[in-house]
Symmetry: C2
Subunit: 738 residues, 2 copies
C-alpha cells in the first residue's frame, strides 16, 4: 500500500471571473494538468483538522484485482487502467476506524479545468447525497481500511483521471494532496451493454479489442498478398501516446466520452495533413528523408516516436495509417479492424464516374486522367452505437485516416455506417458519399477528339470495389466482407441502392453501349519478382466481317495507387487482321533486366491494350502484382514469455543481381528493444542472408520482420502465460545489480 506523507488542505472554488468562450475551452482541451499546480498552491490549508478528526493515511488503487476484472492486465503501466460502467475497488486507510457519522467522498478530476456540470469533476459519495453521476458503495470495512466500490458512468470522459479523498470538516472539506499514485486511466468498455462501444460476444472482443497483432491484405483482387502488423496497443507508453494525440490537437475534454467524436477526430489526427498529426504520407519512391512505409512492422515505434518528438513521423502509406489508427482505437477500448478494398476508386470530384482517358491515337492520356483507382486501399472499421443517427446505422463504421480528399475541410473520413453505404443512404454524417464512391464508382473509358471533347465508349460497373477483405475473427486467413458493403451486382437491391445514391447527388454515367463485337483479354501468370514475365493478350472478333485492328500495347510500372511510376517499359504498336469470328493471341515477354530495376516498392505493372478499327474502339487494362521472395523467421526452441530467445530471420535473394539499400526491421510484442535502425543492410548479395536477434518477450504475441519492400508474415505464436510484470522488472533490476 502506498503511504504519502500526511497533509491536508481545504478546498474552495476561487471566484475570480473567467473568460467563458472558446479560448477557455481550448485551454480545457489539455488533459495534462499544467494549470493545476498553481491552483493547488492557491488552496492553502484553511482549517486545521480537529485532533480526533478522521483523516486519510493511505490509498491503494488495487491494480491487480481491478485490472483482472476490467480486461486491462496487458497494459504495460504501473497506473491503474479501468473501463466505464463497471465497478472498480479502491482501498482507503484512515487514521482510525470510520464511523457512520464520518462523511467522506472521492473526487475524480480530468483536464486542466475540471467542472462538475461538464462531468470533468465528479464527486462520489458513500453517504446518501443525491446528484452523483458515478455510483459509489462501501464494499468492505476492516478496522481503519475501507474498500470503496466506484462505477464510472457509461458515458464518462475517457482518459487519465486524478483522484482525491475528501473528508467533511465543519463547513469545508479536507482533501488528500495531489498524488500521481492515485491517478488512473478510464477507457471505453466493450463489455458493458450500456456503453456505446458494447460488442456482443467474447470472440469479437478478444479479436477487435485485445488482439495486439493482425494481418493487412494487399496486392490485387486476383493476387492477394498479406502483411503482418503488430498493433502493440498494450506496449509501454502507447496509452499515454494516444492521450497525447488528443491533447496535441486540443480535442475538448468534454468530447472525449463521445465515441463518434473520438473516432472522427482520430481519423484527422493520424495524418499530419492539416493538423500536426502522427504520420506524414509519401507515395513517391524517395523515402530517403525517413523510414519507407514498407519497413514498418507495427504501430508502437511510430506512436512512441511521435509522442517523444512531438513531430509527425515519416513515412506512411494507407496500411500504415490504418495500422496506427487501429492501435489508437483498440488501445482506448473501441472495437476496430482493418479492411482492404481492392480496386478502390479515388474519385476527385465525388461523383460515381472514374474516367480512364485515351487520346485520339489510342494511347492513354495520363495528363487528363486525374481519377485513379488504387490496386487496394486500407481503412478501418470501428464498432459503435450511433446515438446521433437512427438505430439501423449502429454497428461497423468506416473510418479512414489516409489523407485522400479534404472531406469537410479536414483530411478526415468517417465514421460512415457500413450499412448506409450498402443501401445508398448517403444523407447521414459522415462522408458516406465519398466511401460509397470508393466501392461503387463506374470505370468509364473515354476517348478525346481533336477538339478536346471527351466521349465515353465503355463503362465497367464491376471493376471498382471488386473485393473487400478483413482478417478473419479467429484465425490467420481473410474474411470476405464485400457483401456488407455492396448488394450482389445487378440485384434488385443493388439497383435500388444506386437509384437512391443518385438521388443524393452521386451522378453516374448511364449511357450504355451495345456489347462490342471486338474484345480484348489480358492474362499473365504472376511469378516471383526476378522471373521473366509473360503477358498474353487475346483479341476476339465476334462480327461476321474481317476486322483490321490498329493495336497499341504498353506495360508500365505502377504504384499501388494506380499512378504510373515512369515511362512504359515496353510499347508496341501494330496492325492485326482478324477474320470473322476469329481470335488471335499475342504474347509479350519482359526479362528481369527489363523490369526489376524499374519496379516501385509495390511491385506492380499495368498493362494497357487498345484496339481501333474504323468503327469501334476497344480497350483493356490489367494490373499485375508480382510475388516477392519470402522472409523466413525461425525462433530458438520453445518461445515463452519472459524466456530469453533467439530470432533468426533469413532471406534468399533469387533475383539475378544483388539488392542494394535493403533494410531489415524486426518487432515482437514485448520485444521492441530489438527493433533498431542499426540493423541496416546496405546490400543483400545473391543467395541467402541471415540475421540473429536475442530478446526476452514480456508479452504473448509473435515476431514480425520486414526487409524493406518485402512482405512479412507472423511466425508461430507462443503460449499465453500470466505475466508478473512488476516482479519481472525487479528481477531485471536485480540482474543489473540495481
Amino acid at each position: 500500500v502506498h503511504q504519502p506523507e500526511h497533509k491536508t488542505w481545504s478546498f474552495n472554488l476561487s471566484d475570480n471571473l473567467i473568460w467563458r468562450n472558446i479560448w477557455r475551452k481550448q485551454e480545457d482541451s489539455i488533459s495534462n494538468d499544467l494549470l493545476l499546480p498553481e491552483r493547488a498552491e492557491s488552496l492553502k490549508t484553511k482549517c486545521p483538522p480537529a485532533s480526533d478528526a478522521l483523516s486519510v493515511v493511505g490509498v491503494d488503487m488495487r491494480k491487480e484485482v481491478n485490472a483482472a476484472h476490467h480486461y486491462t492486465g496487458e497494459y504495460m503501466t504501473d497506473v491503474l487502467v479501468v473501463r466505464r460502467g463497471q465497478q472498480f475497488i479502491i482501498d482507503v486507510s484512515f487514521n482510525r476506524p470510520a464511523t457512520p457519522q464520518d462523511d467522506f467522498q472521492l473526487e475524480f478530476l480530468i483536464g486542466a479545468d475540471p467542472a462538475a456540470n461538464k462531468e470533468s469533476l465528479v464527486v462520489v459519495n458513500f453517504g446518501n447525497h443525491s446528484g452523483a453521476v458515478w455510483a459509489g458503495q462501501i464494499v468492505e470495512a476492516r478496522e481503519t481500511v475501507v474498500s470503496l466500490g466506484v462505477t464510472a458512468s457509461s458515458r464518462a470522459i475517457v482518459g487519465l483521471y486524478r483522484m482525491y479523498v475528501a473528508v467533511a470538516m465543519g463547513n469545508g472539506m479536507q482533501r488528500t494532496e495531489k498524488d500521481p499514485n492515485t491517478n488512473f486511466y478510464l477507457l471505453f468498455n466493450p463489455w458493458n451493454p450500456d456503453d456505446d462501444v458494447f460488442y456482443p460476444d467474447d470472440a469479437g472482443r478478444s479479436e477487435y479489442v485485445l488482439n495486439s497483432t493482425g494481418l493487412i491484405y494487399m496486392g490485387t483482387s486476383d493476387q492477394v498478398t498479406e502483411r503482418g502488423w503488430v498493433y502493440g496497443q498494450f506496449e509501454e507508453g502507447i496509452l499515454d501516446a494516444c492521450i497525447y494525440i488528443m491533447d496535441a490537437c486540443r480535442m475538448p475534454i468534454h468530447n472525449r466520452g463521445d465515441v463518434v467524436k473520438m473516432v472522427r477526430t482520430a481519423s484527422a489526427l493520424i495524418n499530419s495533413q492539416d493538423d500536426n498529426g502522427v504520420l506524414i504520407g509519401n507515395w513517391s519512391d524517395d523515402f530517403s528523408m525517413g523510414t519507407p512505409p514498407t519497413t514498418w512492422t507495427g504501430s508502437a515505434s511510430i506512436l512512441q516516436k511521435y509522442h517523444t518528438s512531438g513531430a509527425p513521423v515519416s513515412f506512411a502509406q494507407c496500411w500504415v495509417y490504418a495500422g496506427v489508427l487501429n492501435t489508437f482505437l483498440r488501445c482506448l477500448g473501441i472495437p476496430s479492424r482493418i479492411i482492404t478494398n481492392f480496386n478502390s476508386a479515388h474519385d476527385n470530384t465525388g461523383n460515381l464516374k472514374t474516367e480512364l482517358i485515351f487520346k485520339p491515337d489510342g494511347t492513354p492520356d495520363r495528363h487528363n486522367t486525374q481519377d485513379s483507382i488504387w490496386n487496394f486501399h486500407c481503412w478501418n472499421e470501428a464498432f459503435m452505437k450511433r446515438v446521433d443517427l437512427p438505430q439501423k446505422y449502429s454497428g461497423w463504421q468506416v473510418v479512414d485516416a489516409t489523407p485522400q480528399e479534404t472531406n469537410d475541410g479536414y483530411f478526415r473520413c468517417g465514421p460512415a455506417p457500413v450499412i448506409a453505404i450498402r443501401d445508398g443512404e448517403l444523407c447521414h454524417p459522415f462522408d458516406c458519399g465519398f466511401v460509397f464512391a470508393e466501392v461503387n464508382s463506374d470505370l468509364i473509358h473515354m476517348k478525346s477528339d481533336k477538339y478536346g471533347n471527351m466521349t465515353p465508349f465503355k463503362v465497367d460497373t464491376t471493376y471498382v470495389g471488386k473485393l473487400i477483405y478483413t482478417k478473419s475473427l479467429s484465425g490467420w486467413g481473410p474474411e470476405d466482407i464485400t457483401g456488407t458493403y455492396k448488394h450482389p451486382e445487378g440485384s434488385l437491391a443493388d439497383q435500388q441502392t444506386m437509384a437512391l445514391a443518385e438521388q443524393y447527388g452521386c451522378s453516374r454515367d448511364n449511357s450504355d453501349f451495345p456489347a462490342s463485337k471486338l474484345s480484348i483479354q489480358i492474362s499473365a501468370q504472376a511469378g516471383y519478382v526476378g522471373d521473366p514475365l509473360r503477358v498474353s493478350v487475346t483479341f476476339y472478333n465476334q462480327s461476321e466481317t474481317m476486322k483490321s485492328v490498329k493495336v497499341h500495347m504498353e506495360i508500365s510500372p505502377t504504384y499501388y495507387t494506380g499512378v504510373v511510376a515512369s515511362d512504359p517499359l515496353k510499347v508496341e504498336d501494330f496492325r492485326l487482321d482478324l477474320d470473322a469470328f476469329q481470335s488471335s493471341i499475342k504474347v509479350f515477354e519482359l526479362s528481369p533486366q527489363e523490369y526489376v530495376s524499374q519496379l516501385d516498392s509495390n511491385s506492380s505493372l499495368e498493362v494497357t491494350v487498345t484496339g481501333q478499327t474504323d468503327d469501334v474502339e476497344v480497350s483493356e487494362v490489367k494490373t499485375i502484382t508480382l510475388k516477392l521472395p519470402p522472409l523466413n523467421i525461425t525462433l530458438s526452441g520453445q518461445p515463452q514469455v519472459n524466456r530469453d530467445m533467439y530470432v533468426m530471420v533469413s532471406f534468399t535473394n533469387t533475383m539475378g543481381f544483388p539488392l542494394t539499400g535493403a533494410k531489415l526491421a524486426m518487432e515482437g510484442a514485448g520485444l521492441l528493444e530489438t527493433q533498431d535502425d542499426s540493423s541496416y543492410e546496405p546490400n543483400i548479395p545473391q543467395g541467402r542472408v541471415q540475421t540473429d536477434e536475442a530478446g526476452t518477450p514480456d508479452a504473448p504475441g509473435g515476431v514480425l520482420a520486414s526487409c524493406d519492400c518485402l512482405p512479412v508474415r507472423t511466425a508461430l505464436q507462443w503460449r499465453r502465460r500470466k505475466r508478473r510484470r512488476r516482479r519481472k522488472r525487479r528481477r531485471r533490476r536485480k540482474r543489473r545489480g540495481v
Copy 2:
C-alpha cells in the same frame, strides 16, 4: 470592340506524368493562374496558318447587354459578370466571313489545372460535336462578326474564367492568345430554376441577392435595437476578394460549383480561428489593437483590407461575422439573410442543458457556470436545394461564421436545414444538434452543496430562443421567424420535436418542480444611457404561512455574450418577512456615475436576485439593455447617384460628462472613399457634435454612420438611377486633368 494584336499558337497537352493525389489537388485549389504562364510558354506555335485560313481578329464580351440580362449591372468591375444556366452573348470578329465549312469553338478554363473531365476546362462547339457540357449557338452573323450564345451548365464551377477562341486547322487547333479582356466571372443564378440556389420570386431575389444594405437586430428580446449594415457586395474589388478567400483556403476548384460545399467552407473562412480567415474575434473590452466591432458600418472595407493585406482583420463580434458572410454569399449569387436569435444558448457540451449555478449562500457561482446565454446571437441563412438530403430539407439553411464550438474540428457551422431544427430531425449534416441547442436549451438553475454536488431547483424551458428576427422582405422593419425554428411551446408538435431530439442524443433535464409558493419578478424601464436606472423587484408569497426570506441582489455589467464584465456595481443582502399571500416591492437605484463608466460596449446590465427560506430556493435573472442616444444623419438637398452631395452626422451627448475616445465612421454605397480612420474624434464634449463629409455616390443605396459603440440607422434612400460607370470614370479623370 477590343482588338488584341493578332497571334496564334497551337495547343497540345503535354504528356509529362503528374502526381495524381492530394498534392496535385491542392495545387488545383488556386484559381489565379500562377501556373499558366509557363504552360503557355511551352506551347509555341506549331503550324503557321494557311493564308486564307479563318483567324480571329477581335472579341467583344458584350458587357452592357449581358449584364442587363444577368442582373449583374451593379458589380463595379470592367470584367463581364454572368450567371449559370443562362445564355450570354460573345461577339467574335474574324479576318473574313466565316463559312459553314469553318470549324471553330470557344474554350473556357478556370483554375491552375483545367481538366475537361473536372469541368474546369469546357469546350463549346457551334458545329454539332457531341459531348459539350455548356450549350452554344450562333445567334447572328454579320459579315466578319459572329455573335455566339453560350449557356453555362447549371452546375458549372463559380469563379473567374479565362476564354480562348480556337479554330480547327488541319489536325490541330489555333487559339487566340491569353487575354485578360476576355475573362469573365460566372456566378450562382437564383433566377434559374435548374440552379440549386433558385429563389422562386422577384421580391425575394431583390432583397436576398441584390439588396446591398440591411438591418441587423440586437439588444434583448424585450428591448430590440437595430443596426444598419452596408453589405456592399457590388463595390469595386469585393467579388475578387470573395474569390481570393476561396483561394486562400485552397478550396478545390471542382467544389466551387457545389453550393453546399461553398457555404460550409465560407462559414469556416470568415473567421480566422483555425484557417487564416477574414476576421479576428474579440469579445473583450480592449480593441486598442484594431477596430472595435461596433465601429464597422459594412463589409466592404473589411473584405478589401483582407484582400490587400492577406492577413485577418481585427475585430469582429457575431454581427460583423454575419455581415461579412452575407456579403460573400450575396456577392456570389446565393440568396442569404441575417437572423438574430434572442437568448441564444451557447452550450459547451452540446446537450440541451444550460446551467446557471448558485453557491450554498445563494450568490451566483460564476466560476462553475460555464455555459452562457447570449442576449442575442446573429447568424446567416442561405437558401438552397439540398441535393445531398431528402427533398424536405431544401430551403433556408443556417450558416454561422462566428467561432463558437469547434464543430467537426473546424470553427464552422452549417448548412443546417431550418426545417430539420424545427422538427428535431438532427440526424442529417451539418451541425443540426448545435443549432438546435442554441434555440431550444433549457435554462437550469442549480444549487451546489458543500460537497460540490449540484442539484437543480428550477428549469425554465421558455427562456432560450425567445424570439428570432430577420429584416422583413421589403421594408425596414423586423420579420418574426421564430415559427420557422420552433413549434409553439408545449404544442404536440413541439413535444414530438423534443422527443426526437433526445432520441438523437440531445440529453435534457426532465426533472419537473412543483410551482414554488415563493416567486420573484424583476422589472426595469430601460431609459437612455446616462439616465438614472430604477430596478424594482417584487417578491410574492403564495403560501398560507409567513416566510422569512434571505435575499441576495446584485447588478453587474455584462457583455452581450452573457458574460459578466466586472464585479457587481451594486450588491445587497437583506432579510425580508412576507406574510401569507403577501407581496412586497423593493426598488434599487443606480446613478449615471455609478454605472455608465462601467458599461461595456454592449451597454447591458444583469440583475440577479435569489431568495432562500429554510425550505425553498428561488432565483430570477434579468438582462437590461439601455438605449443609446441616436446619431443623426442628414443629406444635402436631393441626393442622387453621381451628384456630389454632403452628409451631415450629428450627435447630442446627453450624458452628464464628455465621452472620450469615441470614433466616427461613415459609409455609403459608392461612397467608400469617405470612410477613413482620420475622422477620429478623441473626445465628444457634452452637447452637440457634428461632422460634414462630401462625396459622390456612384451606386444607389444609403449612408451609414457609426459613433463607436452607438447604434446606427440608414438614412433616407435616394433614387435608383442607371449608372454609366465607365463614362463617369472618364469624367473624373478629365476633372483630374488626366
